[in-house]
């Protein structure tokens, strides 16, 4: 099965606001999702410059095609589970 890509923004703003901590997924991801995801550190995806304010603020993480804003470790893990479950159906 193809792995689900999780892109963690490492632009300065996202990194300082908490993306640095979400990188914990690289080391100790929850067991149920561990071998189903691939973590990629990406450069600024420019969501923070999106002035139409649909996306509020960083850190930004892309789980597959879905954007998580104001991301936290917990939020990203939940989103990963949600996307994985959807794909199974």
């Amino acid at each position: 099965m193809e792995k689900l890509t999780v892109k963690i923004c490492s632009g300065t703003s996202c990194f300082v606001m908490g993306a640095a901590q979400i990188q914990a997924l690289e080391f100790t991801p929850p067991e149920d999702i561990a071998d189903k995801i691939e973590i990629i550190e990406v450069r600024c995806m420019n969501h923070c410059k999106d002035i139409d304010a649909t996306h509020r603020r960083g850190p930004f993480v892309m789980v597959g095609d879905e954007l998580v804003s104001e991301a936290t470790y917990e939020k990203v893990v939940n989103k990963i589970r949600e996307v994985l479950n959807k794909d199974c159906k």
Partner: protein
């Protein structure tokens, strides 16, 4: 397990960003919006209501401006007014940890409690093993008499159903020197005489009730509103704390307004040389062992709480001291700002005339974000003076002792031991070593478990940061070859 920062810690970064933004935007004219922007209407709240969340945020923001919440004299004073006060002050904000009384949840006193998992079994090991006869059975379940219980934990250990839990007070549990205690209302207070400024309470409080006065505004004022030459001294732990290459980080700091950026690892090289020489000398004099001295929290703990170990503490100065000394010799008119992972360094700086300000990586990160600087887009700039592998490994547990040992080799017998983290147990261990002697003769003491890369002012994950530091160490020249 690797535990990422929690909401309380993450909120601290956001508050600092908001404060720096408010400074840059209009010098705090609209600072009163900060708590509202962080907890807007309609968003979920985490305390009793959104208003309490905002009230606590106001106190946390005050600390970010360098004003301790316990300095409040009138509750009506607004953040804008506190901002004006911060802008007007001539003296920098002095280091101080404090508890926001309204945010302190006054956790119940640490205790053992029987849960519903108790089956009221026939064996009743809890009752049999309790040395104080504090356990009786009520309605078929164990019950602990709080007047008799001495919190020994025997019942908790022996229960076959794990039905007896320990409820700790996180800050008291984290404080290695018993400096934080409850008042008669259950609210925690910090005893400044006992406090070693390690920041463990601040990191552990689940309510974000413990704050520290920041000097961020003092430095922002200097770099944005004066033409003073402000120089950043980056602690060796900075490697891995920011995204992109080290050279870009240096470029970003210059863009932010620092006139120059120097590496404290250069001072750490000097510490390594001097400490190695001191070690050889002490061993020749017949000393049982020597301990490192570059961790300011340990240095203070030795002074106040472990006086028996003081004679064994190295007299060599810290990397910050030597770096600042060099800097002030070269550029006597500059303002020096130490940037590191450490809160206790602020206290050390108060005794060091060459260090003017101390910021954390988190504060520098907040300043960069607020100023819209993306490190990746900044020009690469090199340090003028390049550090060696020895100085670069200081922020890792085992690094300082390893660096010193590499220079002692062949001159004396060195048996290093690392005290990784200044816990209550390790303080007892150090006391024992001081009075009863130690098998090893070079003790490296680091207050933060894992080393400075796990300090309270860090942004990155300790594990990731230690990899970055290791690879930077590998690229460094050996100090031995430079001699």
């Amino acid at each position: 397990m690797l535990i990422p920062k929690n909401n309380a810690n993450q909120m601290r970064s956001l508050i600092l960003i908001k404060i720096a933004e408010s400074f840059l935007k209009d010098r705090f004219a609209s600072a009163d919006r900060i708590p509202l922007e962080l907890r807007p209407k309609g968003e979920p709240h985490s305390r009793c209501c959104i208003y309490k969340d905002r009230a606590v945020l106001k106190y946390r923001a005050m600390a970010g401006m360098g004003i301790s919440p316990d300095e409040e004299t009138d509750e009506v004073t607004s953040l804008r007014e506190y901002g004006e006060e911060a802008l007007a002050r001539k003296e920098k904000a002095r280091s101080k940890l404090a508890v926001i009384d309204i945010a302190c949840s006054a956790c119940v006193k640490a205790q053992y409690m029987v849960t519903n998992a108790c089956r009221g079994c026939f064996a009743r090991p809890c009752q049999v093993n309790c040395p104080k006869g504090a356990i009786s059975f009520v309605n078929g379940q164990a019950h602990i008499d709080p007047d008799k219980c001495v919190n020994c934990g025997k019942c908790h250990e022996v229960c076959p159903y794990h039905s007896i839990i320990r409820i700790p007070v996180p800050c008291e549990e984290a404080c290695p020197v018993d400096a934080i205690k409850k008042d008669e209302f259950g609210v925690e207070h910090i005893d400044t005489e006992k406090c070693i400024s390690c920041g463990k309470c601040l990191m552990s409080c689940p309510f974000g009730a413990i704050v520290e006065r920041s000097q961020m505004i003092d430095v922002l004022k200097l770099i944005k509103d004066t033409d003073k030459k402000v120089v950043a001294m980056l602690a060796p732990a900075f490697v891995g704390q920011f995204p992109n290459d080290i050279a870009n980080v240096v470029g970003a700091l210059k863009k932010l307004g620092f006139a120059d950026v120097v590496e404290v690892a250069v001072g750490a090289d000097i510490t390594t040389r001097k400490e190695a020489a001191e070690f050889v000398e002490r061993m020749e004099e017949g000393a049982n062992f020597m301990t490192t001295s570059c961790c300011p929290a340990y240095f203070r703990a030795a002074k106040v709480h472990i006086p028996e170990i003081e004679p064994f503490v190295s007299h060599t100065k810290t990397p910050m001291y030597y770096t600042a000394e060099l800097l002030k010799q070269e550029q006597p008119d500059c303002v020096s700002v130490f940037v590191g992972p450490c809160l206790a360094k602020r206290v050390e700086a108060e005794y060091d005339p060459n260090v003017d300000y101390v910021l954390t990586f988190e504060e520098i990160g907040a300043m960069l974000v607020a100023d819209g600087i993306n490190i990746e887009e900044c020009p690469a700039e090199e340090f003028h003076q390049i550090s060696s592998a020895q100085g670069r490994q200081f922020p890792l547990s085992g690094g300082v002792a390893g660096a010193v040992a590499s220079l002692v080799e062949g001159k004396a017998d060195i048996r290093p031991e690392k005290i990784d983290g200044l816990s209550k147990e390790n303080i007892k261990l150090l006391k024992r070593y001081a009075t009863k002697g130690c098998d090893n003769n070079m003790l490296e003491v680091m207050c933060c478990e894992g080393g400075c890369i796990a300090g309270p002012g860090c942004i990155a994950l300790a594990k990731k940061a230690s990899r970055a530091v290791e690879s930077y160490v590998a690229k460094g020249e050996n100090l031995k070859d430079k001699e």
